[in-house]
């Protein structure tokens, strides 16, 4: 029996661990084209800021890999030949498989304007990208960052940490408007301005200009031009589906898989950023580009490949990140507010003076502490916690377990409600009974 895993990210590693938990003898081969192998991709943001050096990003030692007992190949898969259950590799050799897992991840959407092939126009997907950015990041030079969401801010923070002058271009009128509310965007933008970032709103790049093959400026839709030494973009990602398209597997934006992470070919599975997993609760197939869902999917795929039937149960969307230095947790659905299930929105101070059971001590000491809770008919649908994180664990539980909060719903939505206290009190009572 040979299991082959294409991709060296967390979904692939989790799959190997899962296979080994069931099958100690089957041969496992992992083939990846990232020259650095398995490392924490989310951690690249902290490598950029200098909080970590590159060696620290590797969670596994050579001993750990030896214990898992698999063969790792650096290489590129050119074709999947399903009829003969083989992979055609870059060197024209064939690698046979009995069970195959595609876990090749996603990649940054390219900036589609003239001039992006100039040197100094950079994205952040892999470690090589991070190293390239660090090569260009020089004190006193000017950087332009374009994009919304988390990665764009990671680029901003990383370049600031290297004392560059940073211009951040936003297409809309505020940062991450489809997730944050006006107040939250304002908080983030204010902190960015304090750090010295020059913000531009309603700014869209139409051309990157250059000299001697190197980027030296951008031209905006409104006619403005800005001089710079590098342009970093993070305008979204897309699953790496080229390999699979050619093999004729069912696809949408990603590779379609059922709740066992199986494609329409029973011996081929997909997991991680490249997979579009079926959620039996909603009946929809969703793309996820988060580390933990990728790990969970890899685990479930591995178990199924090794014969232990397991279903992937998607939990409520959940992400923690750092926005301009503020730890921010986003749970469930928080954007829009035009969602007809939302009965009301409760906003308030996320710091609470009430004691939590077990005297939990979480991160505190932020100067901003905000919570926004999307309140449904009987349950909480989503929440954002910015700053003090004490409330994020209770909210996480209440939202993903879809706990009935009818008894406190009106108190939560009352004007000037002490949200922190209401939630803490409710959660303490609920925990005692469950």
């Amino acid at each position: 029996m040979r299991y082959v895993i294409v991709g060296s990210g967390v979904a692939g590693i989790a799959a190997i661990e899962a296979i080994r938990s069931v099958d100690t003898f089957g041969e496992i081969v992992m083939i990846g084209d990232d020259p650095h192998g398995y490392y924490s991709r989310p951690g690249l943001a902290y490598y950029l800021t200098g909080e970590l050096h590159d060696k620290a990003l590797f969670p596994r030692t050579a001993d750990d890999y030896r214990r898992l007992n698999f063969r790792y190949m650096k290489g590129h898969v050119a074709e999947i030949q399903r009829e003969v259950q083989s992979l055609l590799l870059h060197d024209k050799s064939l690698l046979e498989y009995n069970k195959l897992l595609i876990a090749v991840g996603a990649q940054a959407l390219p900036l589609e304007v003239p001039g992006t092939n100039l040197e100094g126009v950079l994205k952040l997907d892999h470690m090589e990208d991070a190293k390239r950015i660090l090569k260009f990041a020089r004190r006193g030079r000017t950087a332009i960052v374009v994009g919304g969401g988390i990665t764009a801010l990671e680029l901003v923070e990383g370049l600031l940490a290297h004392r560059m002058k940073v211009h951040y271009l936003l297409r809309g009128d505020r940062y991450w408007s489809n997730v944050l509310d006006e107040q939250e965007s304002k908080i983030v933008e204010h902190r960015l301005k304090e750090e010295g970032v020059i913000l531009h709103h309603h700014a869209e790049i139409i051309e990157v200009t250059g000299k001697n093959g190197h980027a030296n400026g951008v031209r905006l839709l409104n006619g403005k031009t800005l001089k710079c030494d590098l342009v970093a973009y993070a305008i979204g990602i897309r699953p790496r589906t080229t390999l699979v398209k050619q093999a004729g597997l069912a696809m949408d934006r990603g590779i379609l898989v059922n709740e066992y992470l199986q494609t329409n070919d029973p011996d081929i599975y997909a997991a991680g950023d490249v997979a579009q997993a079926y959620d039996p609760l909603t009946g929809r197939s969703i793309l996820d580009s988060l580390w933990n869902p990728a790990r969970q999917q890899g685990t479930i795929a591995g178990l199924n490949m090794a014969g232990k039937r397991s279903a992937y149960i998607k939990s409520a969307p959940f992400n923690v990140t750092r926005l301009a230095g503020l730890t921010t947790t986003i749970i469930g659905t928080v954007g829009g507010g035009r969602d007809k299930d939302v009965v009301g929105i409760a906003r308030g101070d996320s710091e609470t003076w009430r004691e939590l059971p077990d005297a939990v001590i979480a991160q505190t000491g932020f100067d901003v502490n905000r919570v926004r809770v999307m309140v449904g008919e009987k349950t909480l649908l989503g929440a954002i916690v910015m700053g003090d994180q004490k409330l994020s664990l209770p909210l996480e539980t209440l939202i993903s377990a879809q706990v009935d909060i009818s008894s406190v719903r009106n108190r939560l939505l009352a004007p000037n409600a002490k949200i922190g206290d209401v939630i803490t009190e409710f959660w303490t009572g609920w925990k005692a009974r469950n």
Binding site: G43, A45, A362
Partner: protein, 83 residues
């Protein structure tokens, strides 16, 4: 005010560093900053509290984690009757 502080101190003295597995992205900032050299990251991968006898509960890892993965909690690891 004092009650709250003394509660905090007793948790820090008798508590453990507990990870929330779902939040961790294995970046390694925790392990990198541990003055004892404990592989806190590996604990976070397994969702296990840091039961290391040398953990000082200094709080470096808890404070520095960019994703709020770690917290102090009084667990039942050292309850009476355990060795």
């Amino acid at each position: 005010m004092f009650q709250r502080d003394s509660d905090r101190h007793s948790v820090l003295a008798t508590g453990q560093v507990v990870p929330d597995l779902e939040r961790c992205v294995q970046c390694g900032i925790c392990s990198y900053n541990c003055p004892i050299g404990i592989d806190v990251r590996a604990h976070a991968w397994r969702g296990e509290p840091v039961k290391h006898s040398q953990c000082l509960t200094c709080g470096e890892c808890v404070a520095r984690c960019p994703r709020g993965v770690l917290r102090f909690e009084q667990t039942d690891l050292f309850k009476k009757g355990d060795e």
